[in-house]
């Protein structure tokens, strides 16, 4: 093999190149493919029309998540309840038919293993270190938290993977985000990734695959690493990843689709080689001082619009770049914010705890720790918790977290993507604000006219309790 020192990304890439065309495009093997109902119907339809089979059905896993209502799914007799919205119902029905028709394992909406694809993949041990993982969803970058090369693809590529188990790709450039020092108390993985995106910008990772490096990440749990890598796409990067280590292996051991016995030992031995070599070169390197990271919130309509909770709504004229000044003014108009307002004076009417970014058990524990013995403020009209999977929900219920949320005035829901993008009935009303643990504060993302402030789970809980954006450190 190559003697040149390589980055983690380059090692995974090299291990998956089937062949390289004369024009430099590589045919790359895909180990794991996740499919949900929104970006797959047209791909299955194209296969059907062309009479093409799925090449390796066992390497694809299908789970419905985007459209599913988060209200109860079974009636009192245990029968599945119908989906009211006919378009959502048709899309969900298409996946339920397409997956078995093409020999693909399908987890139904009523199974306890159902959840958001990016929660289910790691949880089932389907997502593994060193693998290439794709899904018709940009937050596939999430699985990089296990040390996988994971990225979102379009529907034509979904079809390409189903038919050939490969993709035609140009190699991205390796980028390093190195975080030095320790995060302060009350500062979470979500705050760190928001801070990183605020620092490098929404296009700062464009053309790159980011490797997150530094002792902070080595100390993080797998759940925290998944949160960080999840939002790599919000910095424009194709993917983000963190080298696998003993924490990763301990997380995966014994999961249903993870290797077992002698194969487990062989896999771990291989995974231990998956780290950036001494002397490997990154095309771009950014250094972040962990001590400077504070609990963070977004003020605008791009995930780069990040400010520390102690900060204020910015003045558009303070931005050096003209296009950013224009964008900031449009954002402030949409968000209904006045420059100079302290962020802690921004009132909140809705709180959403969920999404592939922050719906795992640790996220629910962090929010519940703040809510325990407290209640949402009167001006918080709607507060919901949407666990990332049925297994997360069951675990939380075992720990009594559901009761903490319900006592605090939250609704305790069934798993799915929910108000992160409002494809199901969970939407934020026009003109209202939402403290949301999701990943995108785009115009209309949580519903037409909805105003999103991205925060960590603990910060969402703090907002619920105080009825405004709040520094969680004042509540612990």
């Amino acid at each position: 093999m190559a003697s040149r020192p390589r980055t983690l990304y380059e090692k995974i890439w090299d291990a998956h190149v089937v062949e390289t065309r004369d024009d430099g495009t590589a045919l790359v093997y895909i180990d794991r493919h996740l499919v949900h109902e929104v970006t797959s119907p047209q791909a299955f339809e194209a296969l059907r029309i062309a009479g093409r089979p799925v090449r390796r059905p066992e390497l694809t896993l299908a789970v419905p998540d985007h459209n599913l209502p988060t209200t109860p799914r079974l009636d009192s007799r245990g029968h599945p309840l119908p989906i009211a919205d006919p378009e959502s119902a048709a899309q969900l029905a298409a996946l339920e038919v397409n997956a078995p028709a093409f020999g693909i394992r399908y987890i139904p909406a009523t199974a306890k293993e159902q959840g958001i694809v990016h929660v289910v993949g790691p949880e089932q041990g389907f997502s593994l270190p060193g693998t290439t993982i794709v899904c018709g969803d940009s937050h596939t970058a999430c699985h990089g938290g296990l040390g996988a090369l994971a990225f979102g693809i379009g529907t034509s590529e979904v079809e390409h993977v189903l038919a050939t188990q490969t993709l035609l790709l140009q190699q991205s450039k390796p980028m390093e985000v190195r975080v030095e020092g320790d995060l302060g108390p009350g500062v979470s993985a979500k705050d760190l990734i928001l801070h990183i995106i605020g620092t490098i910008g929404a296009a700062g990772g464009s053309g790159y695959v980011i490797e997150y490096r530094g002792a902070v990440f080595a100390r993080m749990s797998v759940e925290e690493r998944l949160t960080v890598c999840n939002m790599s796409i919000e910095a424009g990067a194709r993917a983000g990843l963190i080298a696998p280590d003993d924490t990763t292996f301990a997380y995966l051991k014994g999961r249903p689709m993870a290797p077992q016995g002698a194969e487990w030992d062989a896999a771990v031995a291989y995974w231990r080689s998956l780290h950036t070599d001494e002397g490997a070169v990154f095309a771009k390197s950014v250094v972040i001082d962990a001590a400077a990271v504070e609990p963070s919130v977004t003020w605008g309509t791009s995930p780069e619009d990040v400010v520390a909770i102690g900060g204020r709504v910015p003045f558009p004229e303070d931005f050096a770049d003209e296009s950013k000044r224009v964008a900031a003014q449009k954002s402030l108009d949409y968000m209904g914010l006045t420059p100079g307002t302290p962020m802690t004076e921004v009132p909140i009417e809705n709180v959403f705890i969920g999404s592939c970014t922050n719906s795992r058990i640790e996220d629910l524990r962090a929010a519940a720790a703040i809510l325990n013995g407290r209640r949402k403020a009167d001006n918080v009209r709607w507060a919901i918790v949407v666990p990332g999977s049925g297994l997360v929900k069951a675990q939380a219920e075992d720990e009594g977290l559901d009761k903490v949320f319900i006592d605090a005035g939250f609704e305790w829901r069934e798993p799915g993507c929910s108000a992160c993008l409002g494809m199901n009935p969970d939407k934020v009303p026009a003109g209202e604000r939402c403290a949301s643990t999701s990943n995108r504060n785009f115009v209309g993302r949580q519903g037409p006219g909805a105003r999103t402030h991205l925060v960590s789970p603990a910060m969402a809980a703090a907002a619920a309790v105080t009825g405004r954006l709040a520094d969680v450190r004042t509540l612990v």
Binding site: V38, G154, L168, P259, E304, P448
Partner: protein
């Protein structure tokens, strides 16, 4: 896929940066199981504003869209490319694109042209006059009636796919033997990688 060699026509001078895929096509339009008809949902929030640039009659029939940095950022939804295509757009010109959007565009016979901000600013001026802009993929140039001439690059594989209207899936299926060889060595050396849901 319809081949693309040369596109000439009016351009919508959108100009904004970070135009995300939720702006191009909001989530409620993603419930379709077809690729057709998404143009009616394109830029829905923007079009709700009176006097918006998308519906301005001065740019009626435009087949080119000009935008700012990081066009198509956000979600991987190919619906964004389908919606633009359904509006009649064949070329998008911007200083940069999100990786996923530019790939989706090419797979739908739509050309993403990357030009420096200065060139994009000039093309926005010309477009605002309602004049036709010409994009030639063989020459890799963008020209205006004022004799402006900007050259762009595109990776050769994408260029070939667009010029020839090629079906990537068909191209790759023809490499089935190479893929099979890769899988065989994989199965021998790291069988656990090939088990997937069958583990």
């Amino acid at each position: 896929m319809e081949p693309l060699t040369r596109v000439e026509g009016r351009a919508i001078p959108l100009g904004l940066k970070n135009v995300d895929t939720d702006i191009i096509i909001p989530a409620k339009w993603l419930k379709t199981i077809s690729r057709e008809g998404l143009g009616q949902g394109a830029f829905e929030a923007l079009r709700a504003e009176p006097g918006n640039v998308i519906d301005d009659p001065a740019y009626a029939g435009a087949n080119i869209l000009i935008a700012g940095d990081n066009f198509g950022c956000g979600s991987s939804r190919e619906h964004a490319a389908w919606a633009l295509g359904d509006m009649g757009i064949r070329v998008v010109i911007a200083p940069s694109f999100s990786d996923i959007f530019s790939g989706n565009a090419v797979k739908n016979g739509m050309l993403p042209v990357v030009l420096p901000q200065g060139a994009v600013d000039r093309l926005l001026e010309v477009a605002r006059e309602g004049l036709a802009i010409s994009v030639d993929l063989e020459q890799q140039t963008v020209t205006t009636p004022y004799q402006d001439r900007f050259t762009f690059t595109l990776d050769p594989f994408r260029r070939d796919c667009l010029l020839g209207g090629l079906d990537e899936v068909g191209l790759t299926m023809a490499r089935g033997e190479a893929i099979g060889g890769f899988e065989a060595s994989r199965t021998a050396a790291q069988p656990w990688l090939m088990r997937g849901t069958a583990a």
